[in-house]
Point group: C2
DNA sequence: TCACTATAGCTAAACGTTTACCTACATCAT
DNA sequence: ATGATGTAGGTAAACGTTTAGCTATAGTGA
């Protein structure tokens, strides 16, 4: 076993010629205990001179907070999830907490193992973009009253109450579909990931509802589905490529709505390769806002998901709970923002 | 103080009708101690039935590893650093370790605080892309024999030996400059971040050396410098925008080498706004490989930095040390790869 | 039978904190 | 002088694990 020669509270007490209790009270700025200014100074000097560093391990064992919270994401190479992550990290930091992070690859087994690690480490709280087994996997944490906030996806299959922050997937899809319709498109294909993530279905619903509200019939053949399971950036792009190829078989289609931006990456690659002009030959709308939507020559019409805001809200909830000031459970849905772009041809002037 | 009702080794011992020592030996699969198969089974069953979860906090306090390593990056919104991070996370995970992460914003104060947190948490090791105060800030860790690997930037201002993995900045800049020269360019501007990060100077050196090797005189007026301190993606882009504006004042310049891809983002934005065609009016080479270099219509000539490889190497070193099989200190420089693109006009046919 | 060894498991100290409770002393009213 | 009260700080148990060292029992050879 490694022998790290640490300076302990005992060393400080010895140097300050007092007891460990007093040192502890001084260094924790105890409000319930009066310490003479002289003693305070002696102890603080001793701690500084020795380079004392308090152990969260020992104090954690005693029942205090570890100062650690954890974040679980199903994907690293996803702009939206990363924005959530960045916001969480920033706030955790500001609060003096250490943030642990784990990529679950949308795999419940990875998720389970990661959550087991959290349990072993006694982390104070967990922020998770769960897999479809999220409820089951985080049961231990919830059962032990360790705060859990579910982000972007509900914790399905449990009757427990839980905190939940997500973007408005229905609204996002509705808005983009509406935008395309208002530009005169009626034959709008949608590239869609059919998955076990229950709330992704809301995107298809938003699409349908917009069509309905504008009196356009829903055509199942315009819904191009992928059912990837072990999703990676590459495989998702590949599916986007394939779906776009399919979509382009139908000459009546004038616009594609990529309900996930990674699918758009594959799709645009396909179009570039086959010299299909955007928006000349095909209009494109994207759900998501990676950097390329505005770095390319044609700015893409897209829906920005409020990643930073979601991360902040989630972190706020967690810290409210950790500071013991939370009343009940929060469930909030945050709207997305539509950014028009040059990737959508205006057909209303033509007709 | 929160009262989390945990199942401890004591509970397991009671249920299995044995002592905590035996439980510990069983659950740790002790090699030095023989346990009867019957006892082993009884203990394992008891642990499972009670849902026992071992505490890294208690075992860490006792002197065992915490199963935690930490990563420090100066920027989140940087593609290269993120690739390093992804690789580290993947390996940490595979090894059963928890990874903590902190964005230092290239600010030594943030870095110092983050490293203090690591010390308090008794993390097992630290992987860091250091600020210019990295040596000072990580002194505590190194002094206490907690493995530290420095990534991409050296730990300046210390005589300590340390492990160091980086990309070949000199070679990267050399290769891109050479590529531009081979395409007939001689008036090549470079957008350059002049900073306290010592090894960034290597990029300017690579540029100079390539010019020299091809007999092209170095012209200081072609070096456009920014000296940002609190660098963010936005401010860096802004500087890229500004530098590009300056560069375009000089009509003899035919190519720009962006020695940081974020500078290129601002620069390209400027060119798009001012209808400057790439590569018709200006050729562009980029150091770095964010997604947009291949998502835009004109594929950009760029240098890919070996982020994943660097992350893997760094993680391997750390785990070799943690598993006690490391001989000395590693210092390795990994080459980058040039990807030609359509953003560079071939002037050799014209002349 | 006795001394010895091997086996299988137990006891208890230790890791570094926190904190309930105790103590020694001073002050003060009666 | 005495008991009560307040002050400033000390003592020691506890948190959940690991492990050195101990013990009780059984087996073995002379």
């Amino acid at each position: 076993m490694r022998k790290i020669n640490r300076v302990t509270i005992k060393d400080v007490a010895t140097l300050a010629n007092t007891s460990v209790a007093t040192v502890s009270y001084v260094l924790n700025n105890s409000q319930t205990r009066y310490i003479t200014p002289a003693m305070r100074k002696t102890v603080e000097d001793a701690a500084r001179d020795l380079g004392y560093v308090k152990s969260m391990v020992a104090s954690g064992l005693k029942g205090k907070k570890m100062g650690v919270i954890s974040f679980l994401t199903p994907q690293f190479d996803n702009h939206f999830f990363m924005e959530i992550f960045f916001a969480i990290e920033r706030i955790a930091n500001r609060k003096g907490y250490t943030l642990t992070v784990c990529n679950t690859f949308d795999d419940p087994v990875h998720e389970r193992i990661a959550i087991e690690r959290m349990s072993r480490l006694w982390v104070d709280a967990c922020l998770v973009i769960p897999t479809h087994k999220g409820a089951e996997n985080s049961a231990y944490l919830r059962a032990h009253k360790i705060p859990v906030v579910s982000i972007e996806r509900p914790l399905t299959g449990t009757d427990d109450k839980y905190d939940f922050i997500s973007s408005d997937n229905f609204g996002a899809a509705y808005d983009m579909t509406e935008y395309l319709i208002k530009n005169g498109h009626t034959r709008i294909a949608i590239a869609y990931w059919e998955s076990l993530i229950t709330n992704l279905g809301e995107r298809l619903e938003g699409y349908r509802q917009a069509l309905k509200d504008y009196g356009i019939g829903f055509d199942e053949s315009l819904v191009k589905r992928t059912t990837l399971v072990n999703r990676t950036e590459d495989s998702t792009q590949g599916e986007g490529y394939r779906l776009t190829q399919e979509i382009l078989q139908d000459p009546t289609v004038t616009a594609v709505f990529y309900s996930q931006y990674v699918l758009a990456e594959g799709g645009i690659k396909y179009m570039r390769q086959h010299k299909i002009q955007i928006p000349g030959d095909m209009s494109v709308g994207v759900l998501g806002g990676p950097k390329w939507v505005e770095m390319s020559e044609v700015k893409f019409a897209h829906i920005m998901q409020p990643g930073a805001l979601i991360g902040e809200k989630a972190a706020e909830i967690i810290f409210a709970k950790l500071e013991g000031e939370s009343p009940g459970f929060v469930q909030e849905k945050i709207p997305c923002t539509l950014y028009p772009g040059d990737s959508v041809r205006d057909l209303t002037n033509n007709g």
